[in-house]
């Protein structure tokens, strides 16, 4: 391979989402949120002899909602399969999953096509004693079955992602979409949203795919991006060195950001899938479809389009739609009187986010109506942008009414027919004769000195445009 070849990554994602049903996928145990180990178990989810699974109708409902949100074809009939392998976190010796007849097929979210969505049960949690952190080489291992049997939706994309940044951005959209559906907590750090990536690279322009690897254990958005980038770099280095990429499962270590192979006997599986004889097929009835449709909220993609139609810029619309809480705050503010959509969106996405960070602005002291009023004051030129930012600082710190803050602190704008500005401009021109001369000779850049002088004198209350108008008038340019 010659070094000048340019490579293109081809990435597909497999996302496991823990569904926030009340009970587990195939038994009546309630889902666990940090309870003492093995307290949310029953004979069924422990895989005791003689027990049988029964499918959770709520999980199927959530699966259908996910399918609708991702534009999938919803199968009129789908079946569960057994995926057979031995592991101590799998009490039956098989996982009940779906194979060639999943609940949902096809679809698209944003710029990535969906291959399929299926339902399955989560494994239990293994805790290994000893330094290896893995079962082989550990002194002993214990199993907590609380998580075992938690409903999962597995979402598999087509290999449409072309960069780590795109993977991260798209996963953000997926998370927002799932959160708006209310079907999952979608928390990567807590494991309710898990993402594996199938990664290959190929020379730009080549149609055939390269050999792929499967990268696991990227348990945050940041690690997803870093892990994918690391694997792309690893593959590229291999190819440039004239070596080959081996198809294998890889483990990303967030602590060291190193990628290690998981290849071992335990990974050499022939899963021997066959239809689960203990469960009847899932027949998706019209009533089930209607219930799923009725439960659908407005999805981020639709919200984005709607906000753009209101006049919000594309960038702001995406930010408001993808961060549901920002969108909700924006719409609450817009419902009050006064503010126009785009300036308001701009204030929410930039000034407010700069002050509240990742927090939900609804939990801040800034009432949506107060922000709307502030933006309206700016639009009416009753307060300058810079002073409005000062007012916003006050609102974030103490809350309150922006008009009252403007009045109390004397932050109201000067200009706009306000004669008080005229003598101040006059004084500024007199104090900056060089600048005045330059302006007169056509160098408008010099007006900055005049405006700066006026702003100092007025403590920022002057309207810059108005100052410019007065200067031009006085100097006749």
């Amino acid at each position: 391979m010659s070094p000048e070849i340019e490579y293109e990554p081809v990435i597909g994602l497999e996302i496991h989402v823990q569904l926030s049903t009340r009970t587990k996928m195939f038994c009546g145990c309630e889902l666990s949120f940090g309870e003492p180990p093995n307290t949310r178990t029953c004979p069924v989810c422990l895989g005791l002899p003689g027990t049988l699974p029964r499918a959770n109708a709520r999980a199927i409902h959530f699966g259908l909602m996910i399918g609708l949100a991702l534009g999938c074809d919803l199968a009129p009939r789908s079946i569960f399969h057994r995926k057979n392998y031995f592991y101590p976190d799998l009490p039956k010796g098989y996982q009940i999953s779906q194979y060639d007849e999943p609940l949902c097929k096809g679809g698209r979210l944003g710029d990535v096509r969906i291959h399929r969505v299926h339902l399955e049960e989560d494994a239990a949690k293994l805790i290994h004693a000893g330094s290896s952190g893995r079962i082989h080489g550990s002194d002993s291992s214990v199993v907590d079955f609380n998580r075992g049997g938690t409903p999962l939706a597995e979402i598999v994309t087509e290999p449409d992602v072309r960069s780590a940044a795109q993977a991260r951005e798209w996963l953000t959209l997926l998370r927002t979409t799932l959160r708006s559906l209310g079907v999952s907590d979608v928390n990567m750090e807590e494991g309710s949203l898990r993402c594996d990536a199938n990664i290959s690279i190929r020379p730009v322009g080549q149609v055939a795919l390269g050999t792929k690897t499967e990268l696991k254990n990227m348990n945050s958005f940041r690690y997803l991006e870093r892990g994918v980038n690391a694997e792309i770099a690893r593959q590229e280095a291999l190819l440039r060195a004239g070596e080959e990429v081996v198809q294998e499962t890889l483990h990303f270590d967030p602590a060291t950001e190193r990628i290690t192979s998981l290849r071992s006997k335990e990974e050499a599986h022939d899963y021997r899938y066959f239809p689960e004889p203990d469960l009847v097929p899932v027949a998706t009835s019209e009533a089930m479809l209607a219930a799923a449709r009725d439960a659908m909220p407005e999805l981020p993609a639709a919200r984005e389009t709607r906000l753009e139609a209101l006049g919000v810029s594309a960038a702001n619309a995406r930010q408001l739609a993808w961060r549901t809480e920002l969108g909700d705050y924006f719409e609450a503010a817009l419902a009050g009187d006064g503010a126009e959509a785009q300036p308001l969106a701009n204030w929410v996405c930039n000034e407010l986010v700069a002050r509240v960070g990742e927090d939900d602005p609804a939990t801040s002291k800034v009432q949506p109506a107060a922000l709307a009023k502030l933006v309206a004051l700016v639009s009416e030129k009753a307060v300058t942008v810079n002073n409005a930012k000062v007012v916003l600082d006050r609102l974030v710190a103490d809350g309150g009414d922006p008009a009252q803050i403007v009045a109390a602190e004397g932050l109201g704008a000067m200009g706009g027919g306000d004669d008080a500005l005229d003598p101040i401009v006059e004084a500024a021109l007199a104090a900056n004769t060089d600048a005045a001369e330059k302006i007169r000779s056509g160098n408008m850049k010099a007006i900055g000195a005049i405006i700066g002088h006026v702003m100092r004198e007025t403590k920022g209350r002057a309207d810059g445009a108005e100052v410019t108008r007065i200067v031009r008038e006085k100097l006749g340019v």
Partner: protein, 478 residues
């Protein structure tokens, strides 16, 4: 009544005696408990310490008549081992739905009966706890896999018993022990709590001394169970059989199972033909019918059942319950536990099933076997357009000698030749004793369409009265 008199009552008779107040439930229980403890057929793996603390409520339809239960039914706090070393001493924390249902109806647990390990076998020689002997001849097998249940009922150490049938495991031991065994329509009896062999085939059913007892026990077994999503409600109720005649009943004798080259022993065939003549005397018509794919049933069965078993038995891994043999590491522990815990036949079937589900072989084996299964179901549906019942000898032979087939698995599998097709089709079938050959009982099998249990029981009742089978051979040897 003496204890010996008590244990000669059929269950229906015992219910009547109790209801009249002539017999106390505890008295009946103790008589059977003594018989179960005394029996020397190795039919029981566990016997209750005494009658339940609470006598059955007044009006309980089964009145306290005790029940022997095949070991593979889970019974809370009581050993439930599926006759396997890997589950030796295992006491489940819950009771199988059907056992709980029968207990609530007034049939308390008398004991757990021996069986082939995980219900894999046709002779009961595959039990980890030793073979069961046939009460008619202790040198012979009782059939399997519900051999302990069949032997106990035949010998009078249980009034009736629960068994399970996957490819003939109720009907064949019933035939070999000279009692009645019914495999109900798949799904009519909950499987929850039955330690699974082959999930799509396993079905619980009664083993009883006569047809009336089978109807009574079945009545309180059927019904949808929310814990088994493959279970279905039984249409109507299981009635009490009363028919005396078979007028208008059309019996079909499948050429493929009973015709030339089918391997049915002459003595068994003679008894079968005598029963057909009796049926005609009672008003039935008898004609040859066709089940074109039935000869392939055994092959399909021995792909499907082991495939499901290989998966169902994966949970016996030493991690949570049952036998665990340490070997330093995880894979070693798995290997040693399962190597020591499972018997030879179980291992054979796990390997067969694992192979047939493997990548690259699935379509050729499991996929094809399922297609054969579909064809067999269609064969039966077609036959039932012209016939009320399909009838065959239950087993091609009478009880064979212990050890005579243990070295030849294929010869052993042929025992199920006539019973497996009905299992694959999920339809109900009964075996009733219809005579003796070489002094040993033979069985007559009647199969009908799904949910035709009432019609089957009625016809079987009429035949049973006409046959007048003499059960005493099983008692006199004792």
């Amino acid at each position: 009544m003496t204890a010996s008199d008590l244990t000669r009552l059929t269950a229906v008779e015992a219910v009547a005696e109790i209801e009249r107040g002539d017999v106390a439930p505890s008295e009946l229980f103790e008589a059977y408990r003594a018989a179960a403890l005394d029996e020397d057929l190795n039919a029981y793996l566990w016997v209750a310490e005494g009658p339940p603390a609470q006598s059955p409520p007044d009006g309980a339809p089964l009145a306290g008549v005790p029940l022997a239960v095949k070991d593979l039914f889970c019974t809370e706090g009581v050993p439930s081992q599926a006759a396997s070393k890997i589950l030796e001493g295992y006491r489940p924390p819950y009771t199988a739905s059907v056992v709980a249902r029968l207990a609530a109806a007034g049939a308390p647990l008398l004991g757990k009966t021996n069986q082939d390990e995980f219900a894999m076998g046709s002779s009961n020689e595959n039990s980890a706890f030793g073979p069961v002997l046939n009460p008619w001849d202790r040198t012979r097998v009782p059939g399997g896999s519900s051999g302990g249940s069949a032997a106990a009922v035949a010998a009078g150490s249980a009034p009736w018993a629960l068994g399970t049938d996957t490819g003939g495991s109720i009907r064949q031991p019933a035939a070999l022990c000279g009692i009645v065994g019914l495999k109900p329509t798949y799904g009519t009896v909950s499987r929850y709590g039955m330690i699974a062999f082959a999930s799509s085939l396993d079905q619980a059913g009664p083993l009883t001394r006569d047809v009336s007892d089978a109807a009574l026990l079945l009545r309180h077994m059927v019904g949808r169970d929310a814990r088994d999503s493959t279970s279905v409600g039984f249409p109507g109720a299981v009635g009490t059989p009363t028919a005396e005649r078979l007028d208008g009943i059309r019996l079909g004798v499948p050429e493929e199972l009973v015709g030339e080259g089918s391997g049915v022993e002459p003595g068994v065939l003679a008894a079968f033909n005598a029963t057909l003549e009796l049926a005609e005397e009672l008003g039935a018509s008898v004609e040859t019918c066709r089940l074109p794919h039935a000869p392939h049933a055994l092959s399909a069965y021995y792909v499907i059942a082991p495939a499901e078993a290989s998966s169902n038995l994966a949970r016996f891994d030493g991690v949570r319950y049952g036998l665990r043999v340490e070997d330093g590491g995880l894979v070693g522990m798995y290997t040693k536990t399962r190597s020591r815990g499972f018997g030879a036949e179980v291992k054979r079937r796990i390997m067969l099933g694992t192979y047939s589900l493997s990548s690259g072989y699935y379509d050729a084996y499991y996929g094809r076997a399922q297609r054969v299964r579909t064809k067999i179901s269609a064969d039966f549906r077609a036959a039932f357009e012209n016939f009320d019942f399909v009838v065959t000898p239950t087993s091609p032979s009478v009880a064979f000698e212990l050890g005579s087939k243990t070295d030849d698995p294929l010869a052993m599998y042929l025992n199920d030749f006539c019973t497996v097709p009905m299992s694959l089709a999920g339809i109900p079938a009964i075996s009733i004793p219809n005579g003796l050959s070489e002094g040993l009982p033979t069985g007559f099998q009647m199969a009908g369409p799904a949910f035709s249990e009432n019609r089957i029981l009625d016809a079987a009742f009429a035949l049973e009265q006409a046959i007048g089978f003499d059960h005493s051979g099983a008692r006199s040897a004792a």
